[in-house]
């Protein structure tokens, strides 16, 4: 199972690299879809079907709105300037340093696949008696951790209001009426 997971991750990295280097913006967006759909396969391999359902729909909608934005504006990519060798070397050293520090940090975590559920064992054992739901993830999201879900619903609402405000679809009528009356 771990071999398939590593293969899908390498495919996602190849898709991400091409998405950032493509000359045409439409090809970049289609290649960004590889990353999203590869993530769906990863979630299914990690035994998380809730996340797979949400991710596949969200990825499709995200691709649609990106293509709509690009087709309404321009498709071409800006020509890149010459890259110097020193900058590339410094960034490679930084990337290796970052990965080394990250390796030291995850040494404190348990190895992949041998997770000790210290916090979740109380949730798993008490879920049937205290919440009464068969789906443990839904019981945690709505009953044990209801405040977090309230915060997340508020963030979604605020982001949608932000989109409407940035595109000036709200709050324009008052200014229009004022200018018309003068």
């Amino acid at each position: 199972m771990e071999g398939i997971l590593i293969a899908v991750l390498i495919l996602m990295m190849a898709g991400a690299l091409y998405a950032l280097e493509a000359k045409d913006l439409l090809s970049a967006v289609v290649s960004y879809g590889i990353v999203g759909f590869g993530l769906v396969i990863c979630f299914l391999l990690l035994q998380a079907p809730d996340l797979a359902i949400v991710q596949i729909i969200i990825e499709t909608i995200s691709l649609i709105i990106m293509i709509a934005v690009i087709l309404n504006s321009t498709r071409e990519e800006i020509a890149s300037r010459q890259r110097s060798f020193v900058v590339a070397a410094i960034s490679l050293i930084f990337a290796l340093f970052f990965l080394y520090i990250f390796n030291q940090a995850t040494g404190a975590l348990s190895r992949f696949g041998e997770h000790t559920m210290r916090m979740a064992s109380a949730y798993v054992q008490g879920a049937a008696a205290k919440t009464g739901s068969a789906n443990l993830v839904t019981g945690i999201v709505f009953d044990f951790r209801g405040y977090d879900t309230l915060g997340e619903a508020t963030i979604l609402f605020t982001a949608v209001m932000g989109v409407l405000t940035v595109l000036r679809l709200r709050g324009r009528k008052a200014a229009g009426k004022k200018e018309g009356a003068e």
């Binding site: 729909i57 909608i61 739901s133 068969a134 789906n135 009953d143 879900t149 679809l169």
Partner: protein
């Protein structure tokens, strides 16, 4: 060949009905099978996006405004807050599970979790549809 033909439009309208029903199934059975409010809300918004996209190049002739879906989204989150506050007004803590819990595995079980699923499903579906309409049918303010 003029783009989106009438076959594509009719088939997508029929398919959108089936997808909508599947989304409602995922929301209502959120405490028994994988899914829940967020997944079902996303699937329902996918059904509406399918119908709008099947109009093809005649999409500019629709005067779809986002007012009604924005109203539905506000209704969804208000319903969420009312259900959470109902526990407080019935004498216990905020977010207290005040409905009977029942037996694990039946449809009418798990307290108020099905009601929460419905409220979050309405909010997520209407929110994603509002984002889609605002970004797709964007008119410059000089054109209005």
């Amino acid at each position: 060949m003029k783009g989106i033909t009438v076959i594509v439009r009719k088939v997508s309208q029929l398919l959108a009905g089936v997808v909508f029903l599947y989304g409602i199934y995922i929301i209502v059975h959120g405490h028994l099978t994988p899914g829940g409010g967020f997944a079902g809300g996303a699937v329902i918004s996918g059904a509406f996006v399918l119908v709008i996209l099947s109009f093809g190049s005649e999409i500019q002739k629709l005067n779809k405004s986002e007012t009604r879906s924005s109203l539905l989204e506000s209704t969804g989150i208000l319903l969420f807050l009312l259900i959470a506050a109902a526990g407080f007004f019935l004498g216990s803590a905020f977010f207290f599970n005040f409905l009977p819990k029942g037996t694990v595995g039946k449809l009418l079980s798990a307290g108020f979790i099905p009601l929460f699923n419905i409220a979050v499903g309405i909010e997520v579906a209407a929110g994603l549809l509002t984002i889609f309409l605002a970004l797709l049918i964007y008119k410059d303010e000089e054109d209005r």
